[in-house]
C-alpha cells in the first residue's frame, strides 16, 4: 500500500472568503477515505482543486509521490484522477456512450471510432458490475443508472484515484447498497477512493479513514473504526449540534388544509405523478412528507400552490381553492418556501427590498393600492433582517451578495411577515450552514406554537423526524405509509421511503 494522493497545506481564497486554509489530506491505494464537513466547510473546493477545476493559492499536490501542477481538469485526468460529481454532469440529449467518450474520443481516420469505444465501455461495465446500455439517451435513465455512467466516465479515462462527491444524496437505499458493492470492487482493484459526504453513518460503513474539515481547515484525521457518528458530527461543528425537535402538542381543532384524492396525471404515459393524495392538516400541526426525490413531492407542492393542474379537491380553512390562481392562494394566506431559492424565490440581481415584494405584490404593507409603497417596503425589509438575523449591510444589498444561509433566512422571514395560516416549506434548510439551520428550525417551531399549519418536505431524515407531528411517506406519487415520528428511527424511515418496510 502506498500513498496514492496527498494534499499538503492547500489554501484557496475567493473574493471575500477563504474557502480552504492549510488543508492536508493523505489517501492510500486500496482504501476508501472519507472527507466530511458541514455545508460550506470547504470540502467541494478542496476536491475541485484536486480535480484541476480550481488552482490553489498555495500548497502542494502529490500523486503517487510526485508533485503535480494541474492547470485544467485534463491534467488531473491524465494523472489518473477522476471525479464522480454530486450533481451529475451529463448531457441529457446525448447517448451514454457519447457522454462517456466526450473529451477523450477514440479516433479512426478523423472520425470517432464508436465501435471500439462501445466495446471498451461494455467490457468495463461488466468488469465492475456497472451494467448499462451504451446507446440509450441519458435523459431516459434513472438516478442510479446515471451515476453508473458518471463512474464509467472516469474509469474510461484510466482513473486510479476516484473522488465521489456526495454520491448517496439522491439514491434509494437499494441503490446505495449497489454503489457500495461497486466501491468494494474498485477498492479490491487497488484504486484509491475519496468519498465526500455528510451522511455520517454511511461514511462509517464504507470508509477506512475519515478526514474532518471545518471552516476551511482540516481539524481531524481518524480511522473510522475509532469513532462514532456523533463524535464526527461534533468535530464537524466544533460544538453541540442543534437538534431539530418539537415539544408538546400544539395541534388545534381547526383543519387548515385538506386534500382529497388529489392527482396529477402523467404526460408521458408511465405512472401518474400524483395519485390520490388525501390528508388533513390541522392548525398548529407540522406534517412531514418523506420520500426519495422524484416521487411526487415537488408536484404536491405545485398542486397546493396552484402552479400545476390537478384533479381532486383541496380545501383551505374549509373552502375549496381549486379554482383559485397562484396569486389568489398567496393572498388567502398560504406561504411558500420553495425548494430552489435562487431559481424560485429570489431576483438575484435586485436589492433585498425589491425581493421583499416578490410573492407579496398584492398586499400591505408593500402596496398602497396598486402603487408600491417604497418606504414601508424598506422598513419591513429592515425589520425582517433584524428579526431573522439576516447578515447583510442593509435593504439595498443585492440578493446575490448574500450567503445561502442568509438568503434562506430572508426568505423565511419574508413569508412569515404576512403570518400565513399555512406554510409549505420545501427543503427549508438545504444547503444552509448549521447556524442558519438552527435559526430556521426555531422560527418554524414558534410559528407552530402560534397555530401555523406547516407542510414540511425534506430529504434530511433527522429534520423530518425532529420537526414533524406526523410523517407521511410518498413513493411513486402516492402516500404509502403514515408514521409517528416519536416512534420512528431514521433507518426505519429510510426503509419506508423505498417501500421495503
Amino acid at each position: 500500500m502506498s500513498v496514492a494522493v496527498e494534499l499538503r497545506h492547500i489554501t484557496k481564497r475567493f473574493p471575500g472568503v477563504v474557502a480552504n486554509k492549510d488543508v492536508s489530506l493523505k489517501v492510500e491505494t486500496g482504501t476508501v477515505h472519507a472527507l466530511v464537513g458541514e455545508n460550506g466547510a470547504g470540502k467541494s473546493t478542496v476536491m475541485k482543486i484536486l480535480y484541476g477545476m480550481q488552482r490553489p493559492d498555495s500548497g502542494e499536490i502529490l500523486v503517487n509521490g510526485q508533485a503535480v501542477n494541474f492547470k485544467t481538469p485534463n491534467d488531473a485526468i491524465d494523472a489518473g484522477i477522476g471525479m464522480v460529481h454530486q450533481h451529475f454532469m451529463l448531457a441529457d440529449n446525448f447517448t451514454v456512450l457519447e457522454n462517456i467518450i466526450l473529451g477523450s474520443e477514440p479516433q479512426h481516420g478523423g472520425t470517432i471510432d464508436f465501435a471500439s469505444a462501445r466495446k471498451k465501455v461494455v467490457e468495463m461495465a461488466q468488469q465492475y458490475g456497472l451494467d448499462i446500455d451504451p446507446d440509450v439517451l441519458v435523459e431516459e435513465l434513472g438516478v442510479g443508472q446515471r451515476q453508473r455512467v458518471e463512474i464509467l466516465k472516469v474509469l474510461f479515462r484510466g482513473a486510479r484515484i476516484l473522488i465521489f462527491d456526495e454520491p448517496t444524496a439522491v439514491l434509494v437505499p437499494q441503490e446505495v447498497d449497489d454503489l457500495f458493492q461497486a466501491l468494494e470492487g474498485l477498492r479490491a482493484q487497488g484504486m484509491a477512493l475519496i468519498f465526500i459526504s455528510h451522511k455520517l453513518d454511511e461514511v462509517l460503513r464504507v470508509a477506512d479513514e475519515v478526514t474532518v474539515v471545518r471552516q476551511g481547515s482540516t481539524v481531524a484525521e481518524v480511522k473510522s473504526k475509532d469513532v462514532t457518528a456523533r463524535q464526527l458530527a461534533e468535530l464537524m461543528v466544533g460544538s453541540e449540534l442543534p437538534k431539530p425537535s418539537t415539544l408538546g402538542h400544539t395541534r388545534r381543532e381547526e383543519i387548515t388544509l385538506s386534500l382529497k384524492d388529489v392527482s396529477v396525471p402523467t404526460t408521458t404515459g408511465s405512472r401518474d405523478l400524483l395519485a390520490n393524495i388525501s390528508f388533513d392538516l390541522h392548525a398548529g400541526e407540522v406534517i412531514g412528507i418523506a420520500g426519495v426525490e422524484g416521487n411526487g413531492q415537488a408536484e404536491l407542492v405545485e398542486a397546493i400552490m396552484g402552479l400545476r393542474d390537478y384533479t381532486g379537491s383541496i380545501q383551505f380553512n374549509g373552502s375549496g381553492i381549486d379554482d383559485l390562481s397562484v396569486a389568489d392562494r398567496h393572498d388567502l394566506g398560504i406561504g411558500l418556501i420553495p425548494e430552489d431559492r435562487q431559481r424560485q424565490a429570489l431576483m438575484m440581481n435586485s436589492p433585498l427590498w425589491e425581493n421583499r415584494i416578490l410573492g407579496h405584490q398584492r398586499s400591505k404593507p408593500v402596496m398602497r393600492g396598486f402603487v408600491i409603497d417604497k418606504k414601508a417596503t424598506v422598513d419591513s425589509t429592515r425589520t425582517i433582517m433584524e428579526e431573522f438575523d439576516v447578515r447583510a449591510p442593509g435593504p439595498d444589498t443585492l440578493a446575490a451578495a448574500l450567503s445561502g444561509g442568509n438568503q434562506q433566512k430572508f426568505i423565511v422571514g419574508r413569508e412569515m411577515s404576512k403570518a400565513p395560516a399555512l406554510l409549505v416549506a420545501s427543503h427549508p434548510t438545504r444547503g444552509v450552514d448549521v447556524g442558519a439551520q438552527g435559526a430556521i428550525w426555531d422560527v418554524l417551531r414558534k410559528a407552530r406554537e402560534k397555530g401555523m399549519a406547516i407542510v414540511l418536505i425534506s430529504a434530511d431524515l433527522e429534520e423530518l423526524i425532529g420537526m414533524s407531528d406526523r410523517l407521511l411517506v410518498m413513493l411513486r406519487g402516492s402516500i404509502t405509509a403514515e408514521l409517528d415520528p416519536a416512534k420512528t428511527t431514521p433507518e426505519q424511515l429510510g426503509s419506508a421511503m423505498t417501500g421495503a418496510a
Partner: protein
C-alpha cells in the same frame, strides 16, 4: 464603509454609473475617427463641424424632432425588454399605426383635442393589434417573438404599400406620390413655436418643434412610474429578471407576455405620429423608414430606463442631424451610421462588463462586513 452596498450616492457608485457610457463613448469616438481617416479627412475637423452645426438653434429643434419618435418607440421596446421579451416589430407596428390613423382620421371632423385623441386611439389600436398577432403566436404556439415580429415587419411593409396604393390614397393629378387625404386642421398638433418665442427663440426656416414632444415627455414619466412604482410594473420586471420566481410568486406569465407585447405595440403605434401630425399631415410613400430599428439601439443604449433612453434618443438625433454638415467638408454624411453602430456595440458590452465588476466588488465588500 461599504458604499457599494448601501448608500445610494457616493463617488464610487457614480463612478461605476458613468464607467460604461464613458467607455462606450471613447470606443465609438475612436472607431468613428478611423472611419473619417479612411476617407482621408481629419477627425477633429469632422467633430468640430458637427458640433458647430448641431448646436445651432435650427438644428437643435430638428434634433428634438428627430429624437421624439425614437424616444416613443424606444419606450415601446423597453416595455418588452424589461419583461424579458423582444419586440423587434416596432417598425411595422408604427407604420400601420400611422397609416390607419391618417386614413381614418381624415374621414371625419371632431373638435381639435378630441380629434387628436381619436387619431391617437386609432394608432394605438392598430399598433397593438399587429403586435397581438405575435403575442398570440408566442403564448399559444410558443413561437419565438423575435422572428415573428421581424416577419410581421416585412408583412406590414407589404400590407401598407398595398393598402395605400389600392385603397387608401387619393389620386393626385400629375403627382407620383401616393398619399392619404390630408388630415383636417383639428387633427393637427401645432408646433411649439408660440411657447418658444416667448423665451426668445427665433423662428427657423425648418419649422418648429413638434407638439408631440410633450406627449413624448409625458409618456416617459408614465413609463417610469408604471414600471418602477406599480404592481404591474413590478410583475413586468420580475418576469424579466427571473421568470420562474415570478411565476411562483403569482404572476400569470402568459397573460403578462401577451399584455406586455400588446401594450408595446400600442405605444409603438404612436411613434409614427409626430411627423405625421406635426408636419406632413398625411401618410405617403415618403414615410420615414427605420425609426423602429434606431429605436432598438436607443433602448439598448438607454438601458431601458426613461431617463437613459431620453439621453440616447437625443444623442442619436444629434448624430443624425449634425452629420449632415459633414457633406460641406466632403465627408459622407452616412458616417453617423458608423457612430451609432459603434456606440451601440460598445455600450452593450460595457454595461455587461461593469455589471460583472460590480458584482465582484459587492461580494468582496460583503465578506468584509460579515467577517469584520
Amino acid at each position: 464603509m461599504s458604499n457599494v452596498l448601501t448608500r445610494k450616492l457616493s463617488p464610487s457608485k457614480i463612478g461605476l454609473a458613468i464607467a460604461a457610457p464613458l467607455a462606450a463613448a471613447i470606443f465609438s469616438i475612436a472607431i468613428s475617427s478611423v472611419a473619417v481617416i479612411v476617407s482621408k479627412k481629419s477627425p477633429l475637423e469632422a467633430f468640430k463641424t458637427m458640433w458647430e452645426y448641431g448646436t445651432e438653434v435650427g438644428s437643435l429643434m430638428e434634433i428634438v424632432n428627430t429624437a421624439t419618435p425614437y424616444y416613443i418607440a424606444a419606450i415601446a421596446i423597453a416595455v418588452t425588454f424589461r419583461a424579458g421579451l423582444f419586440n423587434i416589430g416596432v417598425e411595422g407596428q408604427l407604420r400601420l399605426g400611422a397609416l390607419f390613423s391618417c386614413y381614418i382620421g381624415a374621414m371625419f371632423v371632431l373638435p381639435p383635442v378630441l380629434h387628436v385623441a381619436a387619431v391617437f386611439i386609432v394608432a394605438m389600436t392598430f399598433g397593438g393589434l399587429w403586435a397581438a398577432i405575435a403575442a398570440y403566436l408566442k403564448v399559444k404556439r410558443g413561437v419565438n417573438e423575435v422572428i415573428s415580429t421581424i416577419m410581421l415587419n416585412s408583412l406590414a411593409g407589404g400590407l401598407s404599400a398595398y393598402l395605400l396604393s389600392k385603397h387608401f390614397a387619393l389620386i393626385e393629378e400629375g403627382s407620383n406620390n401616393l398619399q392619404t387625404k390630408q388630415l383636417p386642421a383639428s387633427a393637427q398638433i401645432p408646433d411649439l413655436m408660440p411657447l418658444l418665442r416667448k423665451i426668445g427663440v427665433e423662428d427657423q426656416p425648418g419649422g418648429g418643434v413638434y407638439g408631440m414632444f410633450f406627449v413624448a415627455v409625458a409618456l416617459g414619466f408614465i413609463f417610469w412610474f408604471v414600471v418602477n412604482r406599480t404592481r404591474f410594473g413590478f410583475e413586468l420586471r420580475a418576469s424579466g429578471l427571473n421568470p420562474i420566481a415570478a411565476r411562483v410568486s403569482g404572476v400569470n406569465s402568459k397573460k403578462m407576455t401577451f399584455i406586455a407585447l400588446v401594450i408595446s405595440g400600442a405605444i409603438a403605434g404612436l411613434s409614427g405620429l409626430p411627423e405625421v401630425l406635426g408636419q406632413t399631415h398625411s401618410y405617403n410613400l415618403g414615410f420615414r423608414a427605420g425609426i423602429g430599428f434606431s429605436a432598438i439601439a436607443v433602448a439598448l443604449l438607454g438601458r431601458n430606463s426613461a431617463g437613459g433612453m431620453a439621453v440616447s434618443a437625443l444623442l442619436f438625433g444629434f448624430l443624425e442631424v449634425s452629420s449632415r454638415s459633414l457633406e460641406l467638408i466632403d465627408i459622407a454624411p452616412e458616417t453617423y451610421v458608423i457612430m451609432q453602430g459603434s456606440i451601440l456595440l460598445s455600450s452593450v458590452v460595457a454595461y455587461e462588463v461593469v455589471r460583472r465588476f460590480k458584482l465582484t466588488l459587492q461580494s468582496n465588500e460583503l465578506a468584509k462586513v460579515v467577517q469584520g
